[in-house]
């Protein structure tokens, strides 16, 4: 049924007015069939939560578009510059939760000069007046100021959840505002943010009369907190289930918190060391009992400055753990083995390569339910020792058959191990291998790593995210283009021989949404080969490749719906030279908040 509502002005408002008028005067007019259908649709759509489904619904016809827009309560904006706050708010009027993502991921590695953008201010300003019932805000890689947080705290009386991931621009004074004014706050999660130390005791700012806090995560805050205030806060937060402490909380302090909150399900253990030297004969608290009392604990992290002698304290909870994050814990193979042998239910495991291949073999032997593994380098340099290698990867592939996601940093790798993983772990959705030495081949055969990554895209039929490294020729890209039909995110560094590499990917991967490339020999011709696809992508990042300004200008001319940014190194004197091409689709005109080193073509 196609409906053209252009003849009837604001039909739903008129109908409702008529209904009300009818009720008041006693002449009730039944709503029109169209209106009934729209009402029914709205009620049905309330149950639809997936944004992809909702996007599909909104394309059916105008009335469905309207009904969907009225019933969407979770707004997801993957690129804050793809749409303006005003446009988003005009379409979706009854939003309760907002997800906003800003800077591209490579900005995390200092590849983007600071002050590039992604400001939260225009969003919070617009939402403050339009979304009075806003409950949740989730921001990733955005620049958030203390004033933004203050405005947020003042404007939304029902505000419940604030999650900030990889954000910066604010400090403890902004947190104080949130703590004191958001009376319904259930979740305050600060994950990998840069938080300025304004020397404000924000922990003391939570309501004195008890809180509804369910989750408090602040392990990224690099300044001390008022521990006594935290202890009191935990005591008056009976709903608290997730608590992640920063490294300024000692193990003795951790103990005091744990005995007050045995109901915790997620615990970030702070420094896991003592601030003072404990002399012989001093009475240390019974850490083991404290852990044993936490019968619901399933997720453990922290260990920021771990003294391995304390590790046995966590034995009582190991059997129940589904998630264990040792990625800040400098422990060796034996120390890991003593813990991991109990962790039969583990699904998520993050660890440092200090545990060596043998440690990973122990993981493979016990953790049969493992879904996600991340192995980080303790010495993140190109020429460091590299205690893990293909041996660890092979072991994991053989022991952890249910693996879905892996991030693996190493110095040595072989095609054989990667191929083995592709065959053993057919459920892989995310495969990110970082061979830290640039252009490193298979260290046993001397071959490029083409065959290994080729096997991954060929055999792992569910693969959506891929990061490649090591010595790679255009052949690797031809494999990705040929087999990587579901790949949405691809990260490339120091790889490929010629434009063909990029062409294979742009022509072969229909689902590609996020492509980030650095230091690879792809030029203007390759860039042109993606014209048919760029409107389907969230963004393309290319830095230190073989692009020219004219090449980028061509793209900008050909595709008016793309914002094409060329970003200079701040020291760059040549105004035409640039380091980075960052381009993304957008419904708006190019942003006006770009700094001087950004040129929008």
């Amino acid at each position: 049924m196609s409906e053209d509502r252009n003849e009837m002005p604001e039909p739903e408002v008129d109908t409702r007015r008529r209904e009300i008028a009818g009720v008041l005067t006693g002449e009730f007019q039944s709503p029109s069939p169209d209106q009934v259908l729209e009402n029914v649709l709205e009620n049905v759509l309330l149950f639809l939560t997936s944004r992809r489904d909702r996007n599909a619904v909104s394309l059916v016809c105008k009335s469905w578009y309207r009904a969907e827009a009225l019933t969407r309560s979770d707004l997801f904006i993957g690129n804050c510059y793809a749409v303006s706050p005003r446009r988003a708010i005009e379409r979706f009027r009854r939003v309760r939760s907002v997800v906003l993502k800003g800077k591209p991921r490579f900005a995390d590695f200092n590849l983007m000069p600071p002050n590039w953008g992604a400001y939260f201010t225009p969003w919070v300003t617009a939402m403050a007046t339009s979304y009075p019932w806003l409950e949740k805000v989730y921001l990733k890689r955005m620049f958030v100021t203390d004033r933004d947080l203050e405005l947020l705290a003042q404007s939304f009386p029902a505000f419940k959840e604030l999650v900030l991931v990889c954000c910066d621009g604010f400090g403890t004074s902004g947190l104080a505002g949130i703590a004191s004014k958001c009376r319904q706050l259930r979740v305050l999660d600060l994950i990998e943010d840069e938080v300025a130390d304004d020397e404000v005791d924000w922990i003391s700012c939570f309501p004195e009369s008890g809180t509804c806090l369910e989750s408090l995560i602040f392990d990224c805050i690099e300044c001390p907190i008022n521990f006594e205030a935290l202890e009191r806060l935990v005591a008056r937060s009976p709903s608290l289930r997730k608590l992640r402490l920063n490294r300024y909380v000692s193990i003795g302090q951790l103990y005091r918190l744990m005995i007050r909150a045995p109901q915790l399900t997620h615990l970030g253990s702070g420094s896991f060391s003592s601030s003072d030297i404990v002399a012989q004969g001093d009475q240390e608290p019974d850490y083991i009992s404290a852990f044993a009392a936490c019968r619901s604990l399933v997720c453990l992290s922290g260990f920021r400055e771990i003294i391995p002698d304390y590790l046995p304290a966590i034995y009582p909870v190991c059997a129940n753990l589904t998630s264990l994050n040792f990625s800040y814990a400098n422990i060796n193979t034996e120390q890991l083995k003593s813990v991991i042998c109990h962790c039969h239910k583990l699904q998520i495991f993050w660890v440092l390569d200090s545990v060596c291949d043998e440690g990973l073999q122990a993981v493979a032997a016990t953790c049969k339910e493992l879904r996600e593994l991340r192995v980080f380098p303790i010495d993140a340099r190109e020429d460091s020792e590299g205690p893990v290698s293909e041996v660890g990867l092979q072991a994991i592939s053989e022991g952890c058959r249910k693996l879905q996601s892996i991030l693996y940093f190493c110095q040595r790798m072989t095609n054989a191990a990667v191929i083995a993983m592709s065959k053993n772990c057919s459920d892989l959705v995310v495969f990110r291998l970082c061979i830290m030495g640039r252009h490193r081949p298979d260290h046993i055969t001397g071959e490029p790593m083409d065959e290994g990554f080729g096997a991954i895209v060929m055999n792992c039929k569910k693969l959506t995210r891929l990061a490649i490294s090591g010595l790679l020729t255009d052949k690797a890209f031809s494999y990705i283009g040929k087999y990587g039909k579901l790949v949405r995110t691809l990260s490339v560094a120091f790889a490929g021989d010629s434009d063909m590499g990029l062409k294979y990917v742009l022509e072969g991967c229909p689902k590609l949404q996020k492509l980030e490339i650095r230091d690879s020999p792809f030029g203007d011709a390759a860039l042109r080969s993606g014209l048919h696809h760029y409107y389907n992508m969230r963004f393309l990042w290319m830095s230190s490749c073989r692009l020219s300004r004219q090449g980028c200008e061509e793209i900008a001319r050909a595709m008016p719906g793309l914002v094409v940014e060329v970003i200079r190194n701040e020291n760059e004197e040549d105004k035409d030279g640039f380091e980075i091409l960052y381009m993304y689709r957008s419904l708006e005109r190019p942003r006006i908040d770009a700094p001087e080193f950004v040129t929008i073509l």
Partner: protein, 199 residues
């Protein structure tokens, strides 16, 4: 004899070559890496040298492209490996603090709108430190004496030590001071007088 002929044709010097590799491993050949873009100013000098030849033949026909990794530790490329700087720095300071010897401390001054940071290791002793503080905050400390503290100034330089106590700068030997000082505060007026400073 056949064997002799073959022997003479192919001296097979490689087999008799003395080298340090394991028997059976092929000698790595130095080859230029795929030549990278020209405008990476963040690349290192050694990278630019290698890529000068513009030679794309790192993938030769037989597919065997051995490269000798540089024997000396490479200086680091920006943003590589892709580990967030927070993680990288977590494990380095423990090692390098002793080598580099940087001890950054906050310095506050009563009445000043914002704090400063200084690197204690830059100074060799109290006179240098005090002079730097005087210049930074535009004040003067007066004369130090063990009995009377700082004479002739309404300011007193103090520091917070490991136990959380506020101490007068200058009482303990310099090395002990460096290792126990957590932050500095330049006190003013009546508070300063309490530390033995007489106007």
């Amino acid at each position: 004899m056949e064997n002799k002929v073959i022997y003479e044709k192919d001296l097979n010097l490689e087999a008799t070559e003395l080298r340090l590799g394991l028997p059976g491993t092929k000698k790595p050949e130095k080859q230029a890496p795929p030549s990278l873009k020209t405008s990476n100013k963040r690349a290192l000098p050694d990278m630019n040298e290698e890529s000068g030849s513009g030679n794309n033949s790192s993938v030769s026909d037989d597919g065997k492209s051995d490269r000798e990794t540089a024997p000396a530790p490479k200086a680091q490329v920006v943003g590589w490996p892709p580990v967030r700087s927070f993680r990288k720095s977590c494990f380095q300071p423990k090692k390098t603090e002793a080598e580099e010897g940087r001890v950054y401390l906050k310095v506050s001054m009563d009445g000043a709108p914002y704090l400063r940071k200084i690197d204690l290791k830059v100074y060799k002793g109290y006179p240098e430190l005090l002079k730097a503080l005087e210049e930074m905050f535009k004040f003067s400390v007066g004369q130090y004496s063990e009995r009377e503290g700082y004479n002739g100034s309404e300011y007193a330089p103090t520091y917070e030590d490991k136990d959380g106590d506020w101490m007068l700068v200058g009482d303990v030997p310099w090395d002990m001071f460096i290792s126990s000082c957590k932050r500095l505060r330049i006190m003013k007026g009546s508070e300063a007088r309490g530390l033995g400073c007489f106007l």
